[in-house]
Structure formats: structure tokens, C-alpha cells
Amino acid sequence: MTNLPGATPKKLGLVIDLDTCVGCHACVTSCKEWNTGGYSAPLSDHDPYGADPSGAWLNRVHSYEMEIGGAGRTVHFPRSCLHCEEPDCVTVCPTGASYKRAEDGIVLVNPDTCIGCKLCSWACPYGAREYDHDDGVMKKCTLCVDRIYNDTIPEEDRVPACVRACPTGARAFGDLGDPDSDVSALVAERGGFDLMQEFGYKPVNKYLPPRAPSEAPTAPEPDAETIPAPRDRLERLFAWVDAKLSA
């Protein structure tokens, strides 16, 4: 059904930290790797090693320059489906293939009933949906629905592939509908925000702003080096030399 389910008991989504993202694209490639064999299989590519490569990817990382508080910044900006609460990408679908799950709020495309009309991609202001020309259906982030509930993989792997792959911990996954969840706490603490909030789709995914340079935590001072007590004559000799030289 392409009517929206209304308020969902859970709002599963991602929190993306624009302060710590280094733009390495590990989330992009791990997403592609998992999803080309999972729910969204295949994620077709055309001319992947040639001069004009293209293909369906569910996650893209932009890099921007900007000024924040008068200071220049480079900001790496991952962009994928935000699993909005009230998105038209679901309601415009003529077949019911594009739907929002009532139980956890994940927005999915049923690849067996999608006719490939592309209207849902037209309805998304975030450019989050990509059409698969070989498969003839629309592809999008599934929040790795085939990982997060998957009892056959180790528990630490039951998060979206992009979250698992991020080397800087810039991506967090959880229930943004639960005010006591870790991700909700992170959003509250860091001032998480919506993309194009004024547009009104109510994105579930949140972004954390780059920290001002002065607020960024600094690495702790290393402990002073201590030299263990000498164990033999030679070490005692060196210790004596060290003590004389240090005096």
C-alpha cells in the first residue's frame, strides 16, 4: 500500500557525523558490496572499468568547501535515503511497490512489483533513489534490512554495512523514535539536524554538524616515560650515566 503508515513505533535510521567523516567512501563501497548480493541484488553497473562508468549505488559521498563562523572548512557529506516519515516517494508510487514499513519506518521498494516508472525518484528532493537499468526497477537504501534482523550473522554485524565499515565511527545506527536510545542522545548532545527541513518530508536520518575547531576534543597527554629499575651491571652503568647527564 502506498498510503503512509502514520506514526511508527520505531524510527530506525542513521546519524551521520559531518565532523568525523573523512570522505574515504568506505561506506559507499561496503554498501555496494553488501547490497549487490542482498535484498537489492543486483546493483548493476555499466562499463565499470571503462571511460564512462555508471551504475546503481545507494550511498554517495560528496565533498564541499564552506565557511562556518568565518573559518573555511572541508566537509565530506554522505547522502543516502533518509527514511523520511512523510515522503511523497511512497505516495506517488502507482503500484504499491514503494512502501514504508509500519513496524520500523524503513522505506523499501518491492522489486517484484516495481514497474520502473521512476516517479518515486522524481518525488525525492535528496536524489536518494537510483534506477537500475538492467534490473528495470528502482533501487534505494534498505537500511540493510537483511543484516539488522539477521540471526545468522554475528551480533556485531547486525548493523547497516556502511555503519560497520566506517573507520572513523562517523555513522551510527539506531531507533530515532526512542528518546532514550544512543542515537537520540547523540543527536541531542551534538545538535543533530535535518536536510532540507523546510521541505517537510520529516527525515528520520540526522546529521551532526562539524564542531568548531575550539570545541574539538584534543588527544590526551601521554604519561611521562618511566625507566624501569636496572636489572644488571650494564643497565646500572647506563642508569648512572643517565642520572649524571640528567642532572
Binding site: E65, T91, T95, L119, P125, D132, D194, P209
Partner: protein, 317 residues
């Protein structure tokens, strides 16, 4: 937005077909003759409508699943368009039987009314598919479905005038076309003025949402070659020639058909030739207008790629 040629052909051909059915339905409702000329018009309209609908399935990834599009009429204008299109075949089919069966069928006037209603509902839904998309500021106008109706009504009246002339019927359809086409063209002019003067609703700052960010510039794109989103939403070929193409569209869908209608009235012996020219010109004119409708439309997702946002402030002057 990338112009999907099958969709442009569909809206041009089916628009004229539904417009023809609309006027034919009204004529039958008003007591017009249910004769061979009406049958010919019904068939011509049906051919245009059916070819258009058929071609519209070519842009689908899975045309064989097109029937599923009839299910979500509660929320989707595309689904409503499909339902209205299929429903309009019912009065059209019954009218066909009424016109070919010896002795005819009762209730031709009612069927004419249903045909006119179904045809206009279908075209209205087509326009609403675009007008309901807030992601494309150039399309998100109340004028858009009215324009679709106007151009369908104008081209449909023109085709019906041509069919009447071939069938040797003296009709008022030429006058109707001569009134509706200028009205539709004027509305198109208003539409162009409105999209040219519109303020950009969103910029890169809103797209990224980062509090306090200013002077945002693209440093590195996320991919080295255009992806689906850029090819589908970022089409920019026609914009440089927009002014020229707008003039071409207006010339073809207004000036030439009006000249053809006047000459057909003045020289009845050559009426069929002049009306054929008028129909051909209007068809090409609507085709150009539809192509521009896509090519001039800018999608908000392109903001992430550093594109200028909707509202064209000076781009077309």
C-alpha cells in the same frame, strides 16, 4: 528533468485523442448526429489515445507489470491517470457499439457525457502527476493541469475539425479550436512568465542544512561520471535555447493552426489540406512545448551537485 520521449509522445497523442473524445462526447450530449462522421471521430480519437498509452509503457522498466499501476488510486496521480484512462474506454467502447450496431444503442447522450468526463479526468490526472511534485518548482503550479487540459482541448478540437472536414460535415469545431488554442497559448505564456520570475525556494544551504554554513562550493563530486540522478534530473540541453524554442512552440501550436483554420474557412475547397497542416503543426508544437516543459524543469536534488536552484532569475531574459 530529462525528457522521456515516450512520455512526450504519449501526452501529445493521447492529449489530442482525449481532447477529441471530449468534444465528440459533448456534441453527442448536445444531440449531435450519431452517424458515420461521429464513428470516424471516435475511432481517430481511440487510435490517438491507444497509441499514446501504449507508448507510455515504453519508458517503464517492466511494461508487463503496467496493470499493477491501477491499484494505488488512493494516493497516486499516476495510478489515478491509469484508472481514468481504462475507465474512459467503457463509454468509448459502448459508443462504438452504439454507432456500428444496426439500430444503435439507447443513451448515446449519456455515453457522450461519460466520454467527455472520462477524457477530461484522464488529462487532469496527467497534469497533476507533474503539478503535485514539490521537488520540481517549475512543475509545482496549479496552472499545469489546466495547461494540459487546454492543449488537449485545443489539439483535440483541431483534429475533430479535420475529421469533420474529411467526412464532409459542417461543424463548429474549427471555431472551438480557434478559441481554445489561443486561450491555452496565453495560459502557457502566463506559465512561462511565472516560472521565470519565481524565487528559488531552496538553495545549497538548505540542502546541506549545516547551521551557519555559508559560501558552500562543490569540492569533489561523489562519482567521476554522471549517475542516474544527474542524467534524469540534471538535463540541461535545451535551456540555452529556451527563448527560441518557446517561440517555435507558440508559432507551431498557435500561429500556424490559426492561419490554417482561417484559410480553411476562406477556401472551402482546400479546407482538408489546410486543416491537415494545422493539425500537423499543432502536434509538433505541443511536442516542442512538452519537451521544454521537461527540459526547463529543475529538480531540487541537483542542489547537491551544485546546480542553480529552481526559479531562473535572469537565466532566461
Amino acid at each position: 528533468m530529462h525528457p522521456a520521449y515516450s512520455v512526450i509522445f504519449f501526452t501529445t497523442a493521447s492529449g489530442a485523442g482525449y481532447g477529441l473524445w471530449f468534444w465528440l462526447g459533448l456534441r453527442l450530449l448536445a444531440g449531435g448526429a450519431a452517424d458515420g462522421a461521429a464513428l470516424a471521430a471516435l475511432i481517430v480519437g481511440g487510435v490517438l489515445v491507444t497509441f499514446g498509452l501504449f507508448s507510455s509503457t515504453f519508458h517503464l522498466g517492466h511494461p508487463e507489470r503496467a496493470w499493477r499501476a491501477l491499484s494505488q488510486w488512493r494516493s497516486s496521480w499516476l495510478s489515478r491517470e491509469g484508472v481514468a484512462a481504462v475507465a474512459t474506454y467503457v463509454p468509448a467502447g459502448l459508443l462504438f457499439l452504439g454507432l456500428v450496431l444496426p439500430g444503435g444503442l439507447p443513451g448515446v447522450a449519456v455515453l457522450g457525457l461519460l466520454l467527455a468526463l472520462g477524457a477530461s479526468m484522464t488529462v487532469w490526472c496527467t497534469g497533476m502527476i507533474y503539478a503535485a511534485l514539490r521537488t520540481v518548482p517549475e512543475w509545482n503550479h496549479g496552472i499545469v493541469p489546466v495547461l494540459y487540459l487546454g492543449l488537449a482541448g485545443g489539439t483535440g478540437a483541431l483534429v475533430l475539425a479535420f475529421v469533420d472536414a474529411v467526412a464532409g460535415v459542417d461543424g463548429v469545431m474549427g471555431v472551438v479550436a480557434g478559441l481554445v488554442l489561443p486561450a491555452a497559448a496565453a495560459l502557457k505564456w502566463v506559465y512561462w512568465r511565472r516560472i521565470d520570475g519565481a524565487e528559488a525556494p531552496f538553495g545549497m544551504a538548505e540542502a546541506l542544512g549545516i547551521p551557519g554554513a555559508a559560501n558552500i562550493r562543490v569540492l569533489d563530486p561523489p562519482h567521476t561520471r554522471p549517475n542516474f540522478v544527474m542524467r534524469e534530473m540534471g538535463y540541461a540541453v535545451a535551456r540555452r535555447h529556451a527563448v527560441k524554442l518557446r517561440l517555435w512552440a507558440l508559432t507551431l501550436l498557435l500561429t500556424v493552426p490559426i492561419a490554417g483554420l482561417i484559410l480553411a474557412a476562406l477556401l472551402p475547397g482546400l479546407a482538408i489540406a489546410f486543416l491537415a497542416l494545422a493539425v500537423a503543426a499543432a502536434g509538433v508544437g505541443v511536442w516542442v512545448e512538452r519537451w521544454l516543459f521537461f527540459a526547463e524543469a529543475r529538480h531540487l536534488s541537483m542542489l547537491y551537485y551544485g546546480a542553480t536552484p529552481g526559479g531562473r532569475g535572469g537565466e532566461v531574459s
